[in-house]
């Protein structure tokens, strides 16, 4: 099979998965699509220039998506204020709150730093082990554990409040 056909097929068969990971990272559909598109073009250009074909295209592209995400977020970080403080806690057990709770959890994930969020997405969405995440992010395993710990610590007050306020009627 021709290399170009392989890549076209990859978009059709692994594109959805990559886009979902990108969406978990960015929380924005258009940005997620940009991210995957950018990563796809960078990887493909690089592969063509070097003539190398990765054994695992998905893992290769996922790495590119993660790197692109961290890189672009870092570029924008001078204008963004990243906080790990959850803004508000739910107070009531009304069924409407359950949706609100979910929305707040999602928002809290979005408020983490790009590396904390990347670690949590790779760990809890992609199901990767810490040593795999370390390899992917190019850092030590201890750094992954530290990022995860700080990310979870930022989320914990919110989830405690959610559990306490659940409506079980």
């Amino acid at each position: 099979m021709h290399l170009d056909d392989v890549l076209t097929e990859l978009v059709e068969h692994s594109g959805d998965r990559l886009l979902r990971v990108a969406y978990q990272l960015t929380h924005d559909p258009a940005t997620a699509q940009d991210l995957v598109q950018e990563a796809l073009l960078r990887v493909y250009g690089s592969v063509r220039r070097r003539g190398l074909v990765p054994e695992d295209w998905y893992a290769y592209l996922r790495r590119a998506v993660i790197n692109e995400y961290v890189r672009t977020r870092r570029l924008r970080s001078s204008t963004e204020v990243v906080t790990d403080v959850v803004p508000e806690r739910p107070t009531a057990g009304c069924p409407e709150d359950r949706t609100a709770d979910q929305a707040e959890l999602w928002a809290a994930l979005g408020a983490l730093s790009e590396r904390q969020r990347a670690v949590l997405v790779l760990r809890y969405y992609e199901g990767l082990a810490d040593h795999e995440i370390a390899s992917l992010l190019g850092c030590r395993e201890a750094s992954v554990r530290s990022l995860a710990k700080r990310g979870l610590a930022a989320m914990r007050p919110l989830v405690t409040a959610v559990s306490a306020g659940e409506d079980r009627t």
Partner: protein, 352 residues
């Protein structure tokens, strides 16, 4: 895995359906590379984009990368077109749960707008109300409704509001439970409605912003089976699996616009006219929020159920239980005296 980690996994999985898909990515790439695709000169799509990007340099590539943003916004009647809804793979939380709050439409004043939706997708998640895990149920089926969408709008838009703190006593019968998500599409707007069909008829419906105690689960089951929203049953005395309760009954005992009343006495009687005195008398009563309970022993000979029907949407049920305090209740309001109501009812029941 801790509860926190479990919650994070669930929240992430619950947003899967909001991610763009590969088809959109391919379309975007295709649009960005269209001038370079010619019949008889077949170059796979992605290659065309990449080659062009390499040749033209990074400035051109920047344009390609943001290609889908450069498309003119798709506007219909001034509203931006929103992509069709798709069923989440899992029902992420305990019912009622929706994957997203209303987008492009008011979800706070009604469960759904009064407008007929342009599409309706029903997603089913089957389980049992005795299951240890009441969250994370997998998608068991999906169906697009092909008929009855106006009836759907009529019924759902008039569902009664469940106010915060409004407690409903529930039975605890174990049995199969199906959590449904109804994804409604409108020009420029989408709304998800959570509804549940379960033995106790006690799980609220919600769009994430408006919660209702109306019983729509059985009708969603019928719609899921047939592909059409079911016809409204004719006015009748209340029975199980029947949708009763209407928007506005938490502020007015009998909201305006009713077209008939069925008085459920030993022998039911339906009146399509001449009952306005009853409506007026009920709406004149001093009323307070319902506790959905009364104390005392109702007198069977002076107890009635009054079912007020409307051209669309669910009916209003007013129960009159003499001997129980408070004697009058419509699920939203209660009133402490039936003395002015009983003579009016008895007058209406007299043979003509």
């Amino acid at each position: 895995m801790s509860n926190l980690e479990d919650d994070i996994s669930r929240v992430m999985a619950g947003h899967d359906d909001q991610a763009p898909n590969a088809a959109a990515l391919l379309r975007s790439l295709e649009q960005a590379s269209q001038p370079k695709r010619r019949p008889g000169w077949f170059v796979p799509l992605v290659v065309a984009v990449v080659v062009a990007a390499v040749v033209a340099g990074s400035a051109w590539a920047g344009g390609v990368l943001s290609g889908h943003r450069q498309e003119p916004a798709t506007v219909l009647g001034g509203a931006r077109q929103i992509p069709p809804l798709s069923c989440p793979a899992r029902y992420a939380d305990q019912a009622p749960w929706v994957p997203a709050k209303p987008a492009g439409a008011d979800g706070r004043s009604r469960l759904v707008p009064q407008t007929t939706p342009s599409s309706a997708l029903v997603c089913a998640y089957r389980g049992n109300n005795t299951d240890k895990r009441q969250a994370g149920w997998a998608l068991s089926g999906r169906r697009s409704l092909v008929g009855g969408l106006a009836r759907l709008a009529g019924q759902l838009s008039w569902q009664p509001r469940r106010l915060p703190g409004h407690q409903i006593a529930c039975t605890a019968v174990g049995g199969p439970q199906t959590n449904y998500l109804i994804g409604l599409g409108y020009p420029g707007a989408t709304i998800w409605v959570a509804a549940t069909d379960e033995p106790n008829e006690c799980v609220s419906a919600s769009n994430g912003e408006f919660t209702s105690y109306g019983i729509i689960g059985p009708d969603v089951s019928r719609a899921f089976a047939s592909g059409r929203w079911p016809d409204r049953p004719s006015a009748s005395c209340p029975g199980p699996r029947q949708d009763i309760g209407r928007l506005g009954q938490d502020t007015t005992m009998v909201p305006a616009g009713s077209t008939s009343v069925t008085i459920c006495a030993p022998k039911a009687r339906t009146l399509t006219s001449g009952y306005q005195a009853l409506v007026s008398a009920l709406n004149r009563l001093p009323a307070h929020p319902s506790t959905l309970s009364c104390s005392g022993t109702p007198s069977p000979s002076a107890s009635y159920q009054l079912v007020f029907s409307y051209p669309e949407g669910p009916p209003v049920l007013v129960t009159v239980l003499s001997g129980c305090h408070p004697p009058i209740d419509n699920l939203g309001l209660q009133s402490d005296s039936a003395s002015s109501i009983l003579p009016v009812i008895q007058q209406l029941l007299k043979p003509k």
